[in-house]
């Protein structure tokens, strides 16, 4: 970096030079040029910047068509009780300028100055407004309503689940195959390989995968199969170690837990794929789980797994990788089925309730779509119906 030191100095010089011509040429007398560029500004309006955390105003204006456009427009701001300062320069093309760093509650008046040939030629009349912070983002009310609605539905059903009423859940082929996959591995005395995807713990699919790992580990502890969990993220490795240790504890087999089988390979996507392929061909696992977020390496892993003759259960919400898992794996959990796995395997009332809540949420979404489509279809010949469609579009539109 050392030899780069001279560069900033050089640039500071260039920047200073660049700014030079902008300075007003005091000798030119603005008065006699003013009339040719009479009031160039129309509809100058200043408002508090909406939906922000305060201290900002938005200035909008239109240039009157008649006068020839100026070179640039200078924006001057004078907060009440403070002196005027230059807020910014814009090219004539733009018609909106946002000004920040002001004090909330202090009215501030804005004037616009048109510059041509290096001197001010026209000045708009002052318009003022008071910057303030909004407590609620006006354009995200629709999403807020839907978020609260979905959350309420899900929590309501979680509580209903707790009250012990039995909840039906349809059969998911991939998940009911977990038992015989681990059983098969135990019989053949070959390990079970669990691949949690390649993203970090901030990714919800990886979180869902960790929860499923807990259930799978409980089975391998119970059956006494050898569980391998290679990781590409360090945080996921630590969580995996915690989850598996806890499952082995719960199953009463703390001795069978081997921490070195849950290891870190590399953060590199394809370094990880190469490493896992090596594990597959050398350890020859009889059951392979590929659950979480996958990208291009999905087929490298699935095809190698197929070549060592393992039962493969895959699951991801990545639409681009689902075709490959369907092609190369025995069972594939598609999208939401990955998130249903923890409830399906544990049959805990709370989690089954949450699943029921997700179904009702889907019903809400489907109703919004169907009503919206019918309303906008009817809208083409019966105007009021369009307002219903527009309401639904507003509800689902988020700025």
């Amino acid at each position: 970096m050392r030899e780069m030191a001279f560069l900033p100095a050089l640039l500071a010089l260039a920047a200073a030079a660049w700014a030079q011509p902008e300075q007003p040429d005091s000798t030119a007398s603005p008065a006699q040029d003013a009339q040719t560029f009479e009031s160039m500004f129309e509809a100058v309006c200043v408002t508090d910047a909406p939906n922000d955390d305060g201290g900002a105003l938005e200035v909008s204006w239109t240039l009157s068509g008649s006068a020839s456009p100026p070179d640039s427009i200078r924006i001057l701001a004078t907060p009440e009780g403070g002196e005027e300062f230059e807020a910014g320069w814009v090219l004539p093309g733009t018609d909106l300028f946002s000004l920040s760093g002001l004090e909330d509650g202090v009215p501030c008046s804005i004037t616009l100055e048109a510059w041509a040939g290096g001197s001010p030629v026209s000045r708009s009349d002052a318009a003022s407004a008071t910057p303030s912070a909004q407590w609620f983002h006006s354009r995200r009310i629709g999403m807020f309503v839907i978020t609260v609605l979905l959350a309420a539905v899900i929590f309501w059903y979680i509580n209903r689940g707790k009250s012990g009423r039995p909840l039906f859940i349809r059969e998911i082929a991939g998940l009911s195959a977990v038992d015989d996959a681990v059983g098969r591995a135990t019989e053949m005395g070959r390990p079970v390989l669990y691949i949690p995807g390649i993203m970090d713990m901030d990714d919800i699919q990886t979180i869902a995968s960790m929860v499923i790992l807990g259930r799978v580990a409980a089975k391998t502890a119970e059956y006494g199969a050898n569980l391998l969990v290679p990781n590409t993220r360090s945080v996921v490795m630590s969580v995996a170690q915690e989850v598996v240790k806890e499952s082995y504890l719960q199953a009463g087999r703390p001795d069978a837990y081997r921490r070195e089988n849950i290891n870190y390979l590399t953060d590199d996507q394809f370094g990880y794929a190469a490493g896992v392929d090596g594990i597959m061909v050398r350890q020859r696992p009889a059951a392979i789980f590929l659950l979480g977020t996958f990208y291009a390496e999905s087929l490298i892993l699935a095809e190698t797994g197929k070549s060592v003759g393992a039962i493969q259960i895959a699951g991801t919400a990545m639409p681009s990788q689902l075709p490959f898992f369907i092609a190369a794996c025995d069972y594939t959990l598609i999208g939401e089925e990955l998130f249903a796995a923890s409830a399906y395997l544990s049959r805990e009332p709370k989690l089954l309730g949450s699943l029921k809540g997700q179904d009702v949420a889907k019903l809400v979404i489907m109703l919004i779509i169907v009503i919206g489509v019918l309303a906008s279809t009817a809208g083409t010949w019966w105007e009021p119906a369009n307002r219903v469609a527009d309401l639904l579009r507003f509800l689902t539109h988020v700025e």
């Binding site: 560069l7 640039l11 320069w89 639409p319 681009s320």
Partner: protein, 286 residues
């Protein structure tokens, strides 16, 4: 005939691998070529939007990929940069993937020198930032907070062409060349949806279907899908501006077409042998 089909049914994976290798290496060694018709669709939409940018616009190109996806995305970056420089626009390069920074430097300096464009007045390389969508979100409130200095350590506010770009909304357009995450999703979510900046993109053919819904809802104004998208854009740019050096995507398309046909042949062959031989045997469940 039945004997042949039975042998085909149990053919070894490695035979398929050898055939695949031949179908790619042979056309390349003998340099076969095919004409590229560029129909309507996302590639042309992106070209026309870039072509219609007002003069002196500032476009941000984000290099969100790494060398392993260079064959598809680098030709897009070169064609896009040629197009923007010949139309007299300014380019800001960013990267949400670490290696994207050096990839952008390669394109900007080589294309810039060939078309007489200089650093800091026509283009600047802000380099890599961690944080994916979160960094894009932060650019909404202040570009300088995310990039206090450019890739060579020059402070943000001392770069002349960045004088007027304080927040992401000041940009005329964003093009994200994306090989996965972080990539187009982050720019559409955080820059397009939130701040209304028009977002175009280029991606590997594998992730193109994922972004089609964004084209449908207008959240994206154009998309280059895979090597074909790159070849489309190369052809369109070369139609417009004379004297552009030929790209690398077009020759690759010939090898692509042949290998493509070989794979389709495998699908057809695979199913014929299966239907005729394995009538009794139940295939693997879905």
């Amino acid at each position: 005939m039945r004997k042949l089909l039975e042998k085909l049914d149990r053919v070894d994976r490695r035979v398929i691998y050898v055939l695949m290798a031949l179908s790619v290496f042979v056309p390349l060694v003998f340099r076969l070529d095919f004409p590229i018709p560029v129909g309507g669709g996302p590639s042309r939409d992106l070209f026309e939007y870039v072509d219609s940018l007002p003069p002196g616009s500032t476009v941000l190109i984000s290099y969100d990929y790494d060398p392993s996806t260079m064959p598809e995305l680098q030709p897009m970056a070169v064609a896009l940069t040629q197009h923007l420089f010949t139309n007299g626009h300014r380019i800001i390069a960013t990267a949400l993937w670490p290696q994207g920074a050096s990839l952008s430097q390669e394109v900007l300096s080589s294309v810039g020198d060939s078309l007489g464009r200089t650093q800091y007045s026509d283009w600047v390389n802000l380099g890599y930032t961690v944080g994916a969508g979160v960094s894009v979100l932060r650019m909404g409130s202040s570009m300088q907070a995310v990039y206090p200095q450019d890739r060579d350590g020059v402070p943000y506010d001392s770069i002349p062409m960045l004088r007027r770009v304080t927040v992401i909304r000041d940009l005329d357009m964003i093009v994200c060349l994306s090989a996965g995450d972080p990539g187009i999703h982050a720019w559409v979510m955080m820059a397009g949806d939130r701040y209304g900046v028009p977002v175009g993109g280029g991606c590997t053919a594998v992730s193109a279907p994922e972004f089609y819904p964004y084209l449908g809802t207008g959240q994206m104004i154009g998309l280059l899908g895979g090597l074909k998208g790159a070849a489309d854009y190369e052809t369109l740019v070369r139609e417009g501006a004379v004297g552009c050096p030929p790209g690398t995507a077009t020759p690759g398309m010939a090898a692509q077409s042949i290998a493509h046909l070989v794979i389709m042949g495998f699908i057809v062959l695979g199913n014929i042998t299966y239907l005729s031989v394995g009538k009794g045997r139940k295939g693997a469940s879905r």
